[in-house]
Amino acid sequence: MDDDRPIFLQIAEQIEGQIIDGSMPEETQVPSINALAAFHRINPATALKGVNRLVDTGVLYKRRGIGMFVAEGARAALVAQRRDSFRSEYVRPLVAEANRLAIGGEALVDMIRQEAAK
């Protein structure tokens, strides 16, 4: 995996990302633990920990003997959750950098408007 946060978190976030961008729609089956472990070249226990995290938060659910599936309503819940952290993770660092470069609030808002209109 690429950065050095706990791998199980990265696995969980990656599955969340795929649910949010629609490549893993609700009610589809998630790859098996062994497939995740082999693909990412990680310990299966770590892959299991990442998947279990999503089971605990209700994003995935288990069908006994078949595997893990994306729960109904998972996408909406994840989007809401990411929106909550959007401000602290993206907006605040953006404003801090703008301040360093002496880009005023109005100019920053204009720039964002232009980007959003593209």
Partner: protein, 295 residues
């Protein structure tokens, strides 16, 4: 959690040096544990003690709950692969594999044949005439195909090229997923195996200096870079692994930065970058040496 290996105060003295000194740790069943440390740190001695090839000077070691020394039932469940493995005179590749197939109760012939093919082990060549890489390949094939409940690899990759090492990690992980077992592996190539490990034991000058789950170690250290005064402010009163300054710039590697503090550092204009397991261990083992030199 069931411990497959459990040591307590384990010590091995050679003359006046302590090769292993008061080592206490456990390896849980079905985990992949990395035993890491510098040359001469005591990794091989520790593995020899665990596999019953050395007597402890003091302290205890239990494997599957029993003392492994001259304990046939325990040793039958243990497979120890080491670089310096000696084979009987006149042994060819095929003899080593045949002998292993008799010794290990879970030996898988089909898997062994596949691995021999993938690693291009010359079955009809005398082992003493093999290259280092080919001899390592013999060990690796035996280590995986034996499916022993406890598999110990002491730097199994000597002479293997990058492609063969990747093949080894992939095949080990694949077979471990289907047939879980307990694996203890010593290596210098920490970054290559970091993602496979779920537990990490680091030994330095015979002493354990780390004994933690790999997930907990990841992300424990952060490198901050930026303006000297800001970097200094963040470093103050913390566990500092490394410190470097150049003019008005400085970088510091510190342990235990919370998410909030990290955000604060970013807002103060510092750059934060993660520290790999390898860098973390280098920082720790170097630090210990510094202390010794100072005293």
């Amino acid at each position: 959690m069931t411990a497959v290996i459990a040591t307590s105060g384990l010590t091995k003295r050679f003359g006046r040096t302590n090769a292993v000194s008061d080592a206490t740790f456990e390896v849980a069943e079905h985990s992949i544990c990395g035993l890491l440390g510098r040359n001469g740190a005591g990794k091989s001695t520790l593995m020899n003690l665990i596999s019953g090839q050395e007597f402890a000077s003091s302290g205890e070691v239990a494997v599957f709950g029993e003392n492994p020394v001259e304990n046939a039932p325990v040793l039958a469940r243990t497979c120890f692969i080491k670089e310096s493995q000696a084979y009987p005179e006149g042994f060819k590749g095929k003899h080593a594999l045949r002998a292993a197939s008799w010794i290990f109760p879970h030996w898988d012939h089909e898997l062994a044949a596949e691995l021999v093919d993938e690693f291009s082990v010359p079955m009809d060549r005398l082992i003493k005439k093999m290259s280092r890489g080919q001899r390592s390949a013999v060990g690796v094939v035996i280590g995986i195909a034996a499916r022993a409940d406890l598999t110990i690899f002491d730097e199994p990759y000597a002479g293997l090229d990058a492609v063969a090492r990747q093949l080894f990690y992939d095949r080990l992980l694949q077979d471990y997923s289907q047939h879980p077992r307990t694996i203890l592996m010593s290596t210098h190539l920490i970054d290559e195996v970091a993602d496979l490990l779920d537990h990490v034991v680091v030994i330095d000058n015979g002493r354990l200096i780390m004994n933690e789950s790999a997930d907990e170690l990841r992300g424990t250290a952060t490198t901050l870079a930026g303006k000297h005064s800001e970097v200094q402010r963040f470093a103050e009163g913390r566990d500092v692994l490394a410190w470097d300054a150049l003019g008005g710039l400085a970088t510091v590697t510190i342990v235990g930065l919370t998410d909030d503090e990290r955000r604060e550092a970013l807002e103060a204009g510092l750059e934060a970058s993660p520290v790999s397991l390898q860098q973390l261990i280098i920082g720790r083992t170097r630090g210990n040496q510094r202390e010794e030199n100072a005293s």
